[in-house]
């Protein structure tokens, strides 16, 4: 299976590659429109600041490509947030695949939201065989609101989308590649979709 991780210069993609390696899959890195288009599965990672990440996508015209992809796509962390409508971070217009906005946690809680938190109301095949209230590892200061495409929720200050799905597009706020066995199960589920 051809699993391609979109390499647009945003964040620690090495860990995602290693996580697939542990599942026996050699995921490759690419920023080529053609290669991404031809992949069986696409991973859209991202760590860092939203407006800068969007600029980097635009430079390689990936902002136009990603929303048109027909195969299964998994956005991770900032990748998921960029698939939303809009982010408060750097007042960034998103790719609009998910019909929710991204907002910042208030200072009523410690920001970033960092560590292991439970996920609830699991609804998609992406989360198959992962028990309700499993712990996943997250690091983020911005969150995607709850919407009709929410397939898992989590709570920190308020309830937010831990995972989203719209047709072939999936997104997770947490880092499955760093979330021990349940995270590995999620990546395996993504391969099995």
């Amino acid at each position: 299976m051809d699993v391609t991780i979109i390499d647009y210069g945003a964040g620690n993609i090495q860990s995602i590659q290693f996580a697939f390696q542990r599942l026996g899959v050699n995921a490759k890195l690419s920023n080529s429109v053609q290669e991404i288009q031809n992949a069986d599965k696409v991973i859209f990672p991202g760590v860092g600041e939203a407006s800068q990440a969007m600029e980097m996508l635009k430079k390689s015209k990936l902002d136009l490509l990603i929303p048109t992809l027909k195969q299964d796509v998994l956005g991770i962390c900032l990748g998921m947030q960029l698939l939303c409508k809009h982010s408060e971070e750097g007042n960034t217009k998103g790719l609009g695949v998910f019909d929710v906005d991204v907002k910042r946690f208030s200072n009523a809680v410690k920001v970033p939201h960092m560590g292991w938190n439970t996920i609830q109301n699991l609804q998609s095949n992406l989360l198959k065989e992962i028990p309700e209230n499993s712990f996943m590892y997250s690091v983020h200061s911005y969150y995607a609101s709850i919407g009709t495409q929410t397939i898992a929720s989590s709570e920190y200050e308020l309830e937010f989308s831990a995972a989203l799905q719209s047709d072939n597009f999936y997104g997770v706020q947490f880092h499955p590649e760093k979330s021990s066995k349940d995270g590995a199960q999620l990546l395996q589920n993504f391969l099995n979709l």
């Binding site: 090495q14 542990r22 560590g115 590892y137 983020h140 920190y156």
Partner: protein
Amino acid sequence: MLAKRIIPCLDIKNGRTVKGVNFLNLRDAGDPVALAKQYAENGADELVFLDISATLESRSTTIDMVRKVAEQIDIPFTVGGGVSTVEGVETLLKSGADKVGVNSAAIKRPELINELSKAFGNQCIVVAIDAKKVDGTWLVHLAGGTIPTELDLFEWAKEVETRGAGEILFTSMNNDGVKTGFANEALAQLSETVNIPIIASGGAGTIQHFVDVFKNGKADAGLAASVFHFGEIAINDLKQELQSNNINIRL
């Protein structure tokens, strides 16, 4: 609900763990990858590797180690020790470290925190602070706690937060190695001072000390070395006990 974190800390020199590790079922106690794996399996939430290598050559061995750990371990880990440049941090992150700890270099040149946070995001910048209570004032110390500075712990903590630190790892030198509990009063005050997560370090001797650091010290994570390395506290027992004390923990 967000869980409190338990973090074993490993000292690394020339790519090997040092400072005596005594683990059952580990043929080679000096291998950081084997140790990390064992900790991850036993329920550690995160790991910290502190590189105490002195030479550039031994640092490159550490980079190899970071890569091997990232390949095999599916929980987050921080690498600290001697980190002083944007390039150095980039190498560590590209090798698979999730976060990087900076200490002395940030005291000598505080702008480094801004630069790192801008380049990589604040989520991966942990500022480590060693402080000692001297005549009622918590003074920040340099170079592994050997050199005192004029900096006040709480003022410095506020400054590193403003400059873009994502997390603070506070080691109380008064408590470190004594095994009589964490510096809970200072920790609680630190949690009031800043709005980023605090990792408590220095003083762990018993399971009760961890209960106290979360309840009274309001810490977000508890870090320790020898009590874990020598099997005095098994992480799973610790977590069971924390849970029975109504502390939210990942089991």
